[in-house]
């Protein structure tokens, strides 16, 4: 289904996940260290990276930041602790989603598919909101005519919000719509993605124009 780069230092965990994910139809390349992983990433340009946070040498946070600075390839973190330090650190490094070890392969597969989905065009083609131009068919975005590179998650978030300008979406609704998480999803994923999206499309991310916060409820697109 997808070309996945798995960066995990424990050989048995690496092999186990490789076996399980292959069975879900993915093509897996595996790396044992952060350095190898980054080299593999440059060489193979995978569709998605599954990244263990606890790596010897260059750690998972650093690897994630480097991948994110290179392009918009989605990253799913594997955390052994599932505590705030890992989750917050990983999301700040630019990860799109996270799973806690031990993870069921079906769950990981569902997350992979959700993160890779860029969203569906609604057939209306192009919608223009001020300086922001969203092509819902080609799934491209320009700001003042300049193309903006978005990760699939950011793209889906923007599409979801901009499809109904002015409507307030709760974090829970966005988690279900964008990340396809169940009712216990981590709302920090939404907040983090909103921040990254604002950094890319807002002139002043501190006073956002397009993706606005509705305190106590969630987010809405506009009104401009």
């Amino acid at each position: 289904m997808a070309d996945i780069l798995l960066i995990e230092d424990d050989p048995l965990v690496r092999r186990g996940l490789e076996l399980a994910l292959s069975r879900h139809g993915h093509h897996i390349r595996a790396a044992a260290t952060g350095e190898d992983g980054l080299a593999d990433f440059e060489a193979s340009r995978p569709d998605l990276v599954v990244l263990d946070l606890m790596l010897p040498g260059v750690d998972g946070f650093t690897v994630c930041s480097r991948i994110r600075s290179a392009d918009q390839t989605p990253v799913i973190m594997l955390t052994a602790r599932g505590d705030d330090f890992d989750v917050v650190g990983g999301l700040e490094a630019g990860a799109d989603d996270y799973v806690v070890k031990p993870v069921q392969p079906t769950v990981l597969d569902a997350r992979i598919r959700a993160v890779l989905r860029r969203g569906n065009g609604d057939g209306h083609g192009v919608s223009v909101h001020g300086a922001l131009r969203i092509d819902t068919t080609a799934l491209t975005v320009t700001l003042h005519g300049e193309p903006v590179a978005l990760t699939p998650n950011e793209m889906r978030l923007l599409l979801t919000l901009s499809r109904a300008p002015g409507r307030v979406f709760s974090r829970q609704q966005l988690l279900e719509a964008v990340w396809e998480h169940d009712y216990l999803g981590d709302s920090r994923l939404v907040d983090n993605c909103v921040q990254r999206l604002r950094a890319k499309i807002e002139t002043d991310p501190a006073a956002p124009l397009y993706v606005q916060t509705v305190r106590g409820f969630g987010y809405r697109f506009g009104p401009l």
Binding site: D10, L12, V13, R15, G16, L17, L19, A20, R23, A80, R81, D83, D84, K101, P102, V103, Q104, P105, T106, R171, D182, Y183, L184, S187, R215, G216
Partner: protein, 469 residues
Amino acid sequence: MSRRPLPRGLRARLIVAFALVTMLGAGAASWASAESASDALVDSSQRRLTEDFAERIGAIAPTLTYPPDQETLDRLRAAVGPNTTVTYEDLRSSEGPHADLITDELLDAVGDGDRIATQRITDDGPWLLIGAPVMITAPDGTRTPSGIEVYAVRDLAEVHRQIAALASSAIGTAGAALPLSVLVALIAARSVLRPVRELRDTARRLADGDLDARTPPLGADELAQLAVTVNEMAESVQGSMAAMGRMQADARRFAADVSHELRTPLTTLTAVAEVLEDASGGMEADAAESARLAITEIHRLVRLVEDLMEVSRFDAGTVHPRLEEVDLAEAVRDSLRARGWLDRVETTGPETIRLRADRRRLDVIIANLVGNALRHGAPPVRIDLSASETHVRIEVTDHGPGLSDQALPHVFDRFYKADNARTRTPGSGLGLAIALENARLHGGDLTAGNADGGGAAFILRLPIGSEEP
């Protein structure tokens, strides 16, 4: 319980004791000196009056004619002074308002003897009565009573005034010593009580858990030794506490480390279990059953390790709730739906209850309570939701046999199994303990009991929490 002494503090007792001792000492000394001084005063004044009396008689006696007539007696009386009576047989010369104070006792004493007699009386004030027979001295030196008797009454009020002044000055001296003694007592009490108070403060801080509290020992007296002993005791308690704390921390870290180390192999096992499960369809029957057993146990192990890690986090105090606005009825429905329990559990209560809670932890509590009721109780399992001004109340009841009296106090204990015959349950044995910790993390509470119908009843109370600003 010992009876409380009347003066409460040591300070008050010391001051009272000092004042009492001072007053007793000063009073006794003043009293003794005043007593002896007044004796001396009375004696000397009596002697002076008596001598004066005798001198006056002696001066005039040689000029008297004998036997005396009334005129002679009058002269003698005038010479002796006022308040004097002179008698000779039936003749009598008396002058002065107090002259008649002379007692029969004195009359007898003078009549029988040949010397001056005195008596002190206190009729209407202190008086000295003096009486003497006038003697005739023959040329050969023999003395015979002349039959003339002289009596005089002398006022002792002045002497008594002096004695009263002496006594009042003695009382004044003792009184003046009182404030001085209180002052000295205060200083003494301070020097004794300050170290005592410091020791008390130190002991109180130690009791409050401040094991760094010490009292600097001053000097080398018994109180200083006590301070040294208290310091040593604190030192040793502190040492033991630190050792215990280290052991406890080690034990907790060990539990956390073990759980964490188990995660890595469990990750591999969980990953391959699915592959195995998919492939078990093509295996021989015994191999397929073995694979299914292995998979079941892997899932149990995962659950156990996750619960252990959760308990470790609570023990380490590293758990922080992520509060958000939660619709209670919806949250309960979500928890039930996710586990396929919707048609096995009957939920009643208003749809409108909202609270601020950690959604995931609320789910853990509900899942543990309902899971417990479904496993150990009998259907129907019921959830009743209600809310007051400040709290929400979630009651989970079943219709099983309920909790026995022995089990009731232990249901929230870790790894407690109410029914020993059924030790193999899908639960980790930590579920209710974790549910309780989660309830407390929200500032709420979780209690176990039995419903009227006989089944077990778990009641969860959570604060509604403040609105998001």
